[in-house]
Amino acid sequence: MKVLLVDDEQKFAQMLAKRLELRGIQTNVFFSGQKALDAVEQGNRFDVAILDVVMPGIGGIELKRRLFLLDSEMKFVFLTGHGSKMDYAAVAQEAEHYLPKPLQIDVLIETLNRLAEGE
């Protein structure tokens, strides 16, 4: 399974990537939406994208739309840090899967596995 992780919180993203790697999940980390888009445009393929909702520049929701245009088979998991009502509402419209920060790694792994298996 190949995972695309996009979060502007760099240390958090790196740490999470390491934990996923430890569990045998190949993870590419990007700290901004634009860089992630560039990577996908260059032909990199990912099974699942883990996106932070609130990011400077291209936000998680916008990023999902654009990634979906590039690769319609990609699955998405959102991370909501702020937990504000707007966050939830926006995410609820765009994705079935969202997880609040701080994360429970087991739940994330389980979600990723389910998505990768195509539910």
Partner: protein, 586 residues
């Protein structure tokens, strides 16, 4: 709560007079309701009384003037009529003498037989004559016919004779003369064939004149009499007959016409005086006809009217005063109460605002905490991963334990931030299926630390059979939070708090929150849901918590009751519908 209202006036007294809700005052429209009340009464009274007083005074004045005018007119008419009678009485007799003189001449009249015949005829024709005499120009009486023996008397010094010399005729005052009987002399002057003058004199009985006058006397308060221009009484008077014959009322100035005026008598009583100077065509007289009416007596109608007006005024004034006072009191009280409600709403709104601010603060705190928490979580997780997945430090259980405690702490932080966020969202959340157990758990979690610290045991017992209830989650959370807060404030350290629920029929759920704290005394028990009721010291409690709770329960179509015994604790029972009928939602 400060002043005890007096028993009777207290019941009548408007509420704003015992207003003690100081904290509401900043929100009141008017500062001082007592002053407003006073002003309202003053302005209304002025507006009502001023026209009433002015109208009454004008009415008073008008009626008095018209009654006075009417009385003066009547007096004047009476005087005028009496004057005509007196004048006619004198003129008739003067004319008769004139006729006799012209018809018969000096020679015939000096014949005593003829004179007696003339006297007899005059008595028959006019009456009121006593005797007749012919007097020569030197004042000596030439012939006399009549009952008294007055032949040869000399009248040259008598005032009437001298008066007669100056005019063609004369009328004397009432006097007794030689015969010692009051009488009036009327005389006419004529010329003999030899060119010398002579006078035909007749004496008139005053009785006839008095009779003529008294026929004009109307009512017991009226007096009619003749006086001379010196004020000597000539005919009997009801009011002014005294030791001297002089009347003691101010003598009027001469006037050719009948007049009437208002004056005062010797006692200072108001009187109406009608007067006329009596002049005949042939000769002036010294008589003044006086009509005197006592105003007090004849003004009874006016006095009655005046008292009617006075009582009308007093009764109107009393009714107006009562109506104005009552109306003002009721109106100002209504305004006061409306204003008070507004103020209470404002305070409530302020309270809600504070809650909203707390919510925003909570959201802000959660926001700031969440990212670092997420990082701690991942870092700790990674360290643990190193232990467990890579098996490098598998043999070191102590390290694993420490890291687990980090993760556990982070988990707890996460729970708290989630609860804070939930609290922030509750203010505008709609009706949704709500798990009572979860909410009670959330709320009690807020107090976990305090409970541990204070050694308070919390027992929650909400059976699985309680279904999800459709209600406003946020409001329910606030209700439970308020009640639990309340219980925590009421109990001592080491006491316990029980929260349990049961079904009340298939449609309703009952939630019990019981503490074994100090309890609520019986006289406070029915006041606990009133806004601003508090037993805490000033500044330590708003007294709003339970009243807000009550309002929230009402909003959720439920009800809340309280059972308590002093020293044995308090139980609040909230009954909620399992499903709110949205059509009836307020």
């Amino acid at each position: 709560m400060t002043e005890s209202p007096n028993k009777f006036p207290g019941a009548m007294w408007p509420r704003f007079h015992r207003n003690s809700d100081e904290h509401l005052n900043p929100y009141h429209t008017f500062r001082d309701y007592r002053q407003t009340w006073g002003m309202a009464i003053f302005v209304l009274m002025t507006a009502a009384f001023l026209p009433l007083i002015i109208m009454t005074l004008i009415d008073y004045q008008l009626i008095e003037t018209s009654i006075n005018t009417e009385a003066l007119l009547r007096t004047e008419r009476l005087t005028s009529n009496a004057r005509r009678a007196v004048t006619f009485f004198l003129e008739e007799r003067l004319a008769a003498l004139k006729f006799t003189v012209n018809e018969m001449g000096y020679d015939q009249l000096t014949n005593p037989g003829v004179l007696s015949e003339v006297l007899r005829n005059l008595k028959l024709g006019f009456g009121g004559l006593t005797d007749l005499s012919v007097i020569a120009d030197d004042g000596n009486q030439v012939t006399y016919a009549g009952p008294f023996n007055l032949e040869g008397k000399d009248y040259s010094n008598q005032s009437w004779f001298m008066e007669c010399q100056r005019h063609n005729a004369c009328v004397s005052e009432v006097f007794s003369g030689y015969r010692n009987v009051p009488h009036i002399v009327v005389a006419v002057k004529s010329m003999r064939a030899d060119g010398r003058l002579f006078v035909l004199r007749a004496t008139l009985e005053t009785e006839r004149l008095i009779q003529a006058l008294s026929s004009y006397q109307t009512g017991e308060h009226a007096d009619i009499f003749l006086i001379t221009r010196d004020g000597l009484l000539q005919t009997p008077s009801r009011f002014y007959e005294g030791k001297s014959n002089k009347v003691d009322i101010p003598l009027p100035a001469y006037s050719g016409r009948t007049k009437a005026k208002i004056s005062t008598d010797r006692n200072g009583q108001p009187i109406l005086i009608g007067y006329a100077f009596i002049d005949t065509e042939m000769a002036p007289t010294s008589f003044i006809l006086m009509v005197v009416k006592q105003k007090a007596g004849m003004m009874k109608v006016w006095l009655d009217l005046r008292s009617d007006i006075f009582w009308f005024f007093v009764v109107s004034a009393v009714i107006l005063a009562i109506v104005i006072t009552l109306t003002s009191t009721v109106m100002v009280n209504k305004i006061f109460q409306a204003d008070r409600q507004k103020a209470q709403t404002m305070v409530m709104a302020e309270q809600n605002c504070q809650l909203a601010s707390i919510g925003q603060l909570a959201a802000g705190v959660a926001h700031e905490i969440n990212n670092p928490l997420a990082l701690i979580n991942e870092t700790a997780g990674y360290v643990k991963d190193l232990f467990t997945i890579k098996h490098q430090y598998k043999e070191d259980p102590e390290l694993v334990e420490h890291i687990d405690s980090i993760i556990e702490a982070v988990g707890r932080c996460g729970t708290i931030t989630r609860q804070l966020l939930g609290f922030a969202r509750q203010l505008d959340i709609q009706i949704q299926p709500t798990d009572l157990r979860e909410i009670v758990g959330d709320v009690v979690n807020f107090h976990k630390k305090e409970a541990e610290y204070r050694n308070i045991a919390i027992h929650i017992e909400i059976p699985e059979t309680i279904p999800l209830i459709e209600t406003d989650r946020g409001k329910l959370q606030q209700i439970i939070l308020n009640l639990v807060n309340n219980a925590f404030q009421a109990i001592e350290n080491g006491c316990s708090l029980d929260v349990w629920a049961e079904m009340d029929g298939p449609e309703r759920v009952r939630l019990f929150i019981r503490d074994d704290g100090c309890g609520i005394s019986e006289d406070h028990l029915n006041k606990v849901f009133e806004p601003f009721f508090t037993t805490k010291k000033e500044g330590q409690g708003t007294g709003l918590g339970l009243s807000i709770t009550y309002g929230l329960v009402q909003k959720l179509h439920g009800d809340i009751i309280v059972k308590s015994k002093t020293g044995q604790g308090t139980t609040f029972v909230v009954t909620l519908p399992v499903k709110i009928n949205k059509d009836n939602q307020t």
